[in-house]
Symmetry: C2
Subunit: 198 residues, 2 copies
DNA sequence: ACAGATATTAGAATCTGTTCTAGTTTTGCG
DNA sequence: CGCAAAACTAGAACAGATTCTAATATCTGT
């Protein structure tokens, strides 16, 4: 879990804390989009963000927490994109594929970042909202605006399965074991089975 | 890939090298089955195996290579178990669930080790046959002895999808976010869609 | 403005994976 | 046998994540 610096008494983040946090995440993202997680060294991040190492660790108790925050921003982007331009396909499966492939293309833009981030996330002890958010998105687009709370156990399981298949295929692609087209094909096959009738 | 210490000229491993290697893997497994990968420190492994740190690194160029070797032994066990007592269920999906849940129980016996195993399975920089081996196993039991070479692209995709769903669920369980029963239920749901008609 | 709490800082220190060094031992082979 | 290649060893050295320390700065409530 990410932890927040506690601000005397109330749980509210002050403006300066918020900005500090933001600067840190931006510095981290910038570094990671070059050389991946390796280039994103805690000392360097702290330096670039104009913050002491100890402070960085106050905001992000481990490097993984920082990675998670960076990934979070990426997912925000995807969610916004989906909202701005919802998938137009006529079937639930079609819309799911649409969302997943759009996410794939988004991540492909920064392969170093994507690879590093996804690996780190899978490795993470840390609880990440990553899978859940993707699952929620899939439910929303393929089962007519359904939210995670309203969904049945089976619907959750199916959308979740599709999401984990996607993550796995993405990793395979980043490792050079799949082409974009192969992923698309495999996602289509899985989606047809898993989310046609949500 | 794991690299082997090259033995003067020929690529053959001598008996003493084989044993040394085995001692290393055993020491590593023993340590990992207690405190997980963290307890499996390279210095400690070397010490327990009665080998210098440099030698350990000659056999296993990185900690990950060592983990992969340990994991390999575990998968052998599963394959042997399946061979000895093939899944008896009447449907393809039933047999697939059978295999996966048996693997799940096997891994649960050494959760720390399992955690390391699954992560390396997913992460492996290194080309590991693990995902493919599991996919192959699923094809074999759910599509009447089909091998990876004979399977159609779709069959491969479906068995592979089930395999990645399983891996994902297993990880969730190891992180304490799923119970055994929840996994079983989710695997059943996914298997029904993915491998009913292989 | 003051007091106490919290945040921040620079930097040293610690921990563990990995690499390097220099010297010793084992192995394969003519 | 006798030598060159390869393996092995103990231990130092290095790297990057994480933790610790002591001092300073900032904030909050009164």
């Amino acid at each position: 879990m990410e932890s927040q610096p506690s601000t005397g008494g109330s749980g509210v983040r002050t403006r300066s804390q918020h900005q500090r946090r933001k600067r840190i995440v931006q510095a981290a993202a910038a570094l990671a989009s070059r050389g991946g997680v390796e280039a994103m060294q805690m000392r360097t991040v702290a330096e670039r963000a104009g913050v002491a190492l100890g402070t960085l660790y106050r905001y992000f108790p481990s490097k993984m927490d920082l990675v998670v925050a960076v990934v979070g921003e990426e997912i925000d982007l995807l969610e916004n994109s989906i909202e701005r331009r919802p998938p137009g396909a006529g079937t639930p499966a079609g819309r799911a594929v649409d969302v997943l492939m759009r996410a794939t293309r988004g991540l492909m833009r920064e392969p170093e970042l994507a690879d590093a981030l996804i690996r780190s996330l899978i490795m993470a002890e840390v609880e990440t909202p990553f899978g859940d958010r993707m699952t929620g998105l899939l439910l929303r687009v393929s089962a007519g605006g359904l939210t995670r709370d309203e969904a049945s156990e089976e619907q959750l399981a199916l959308a979740g399965s599709l999401s984990s298949v996607w993550v796995h295929e993405l990793l395979e692609m980043l490792r050079g074991r799949r082409t974009y087209d192969q992923i698309q094909r495999r996602i289509e096959i899985a989606a047809a089975r898993l989310v046609s009738d949500l």
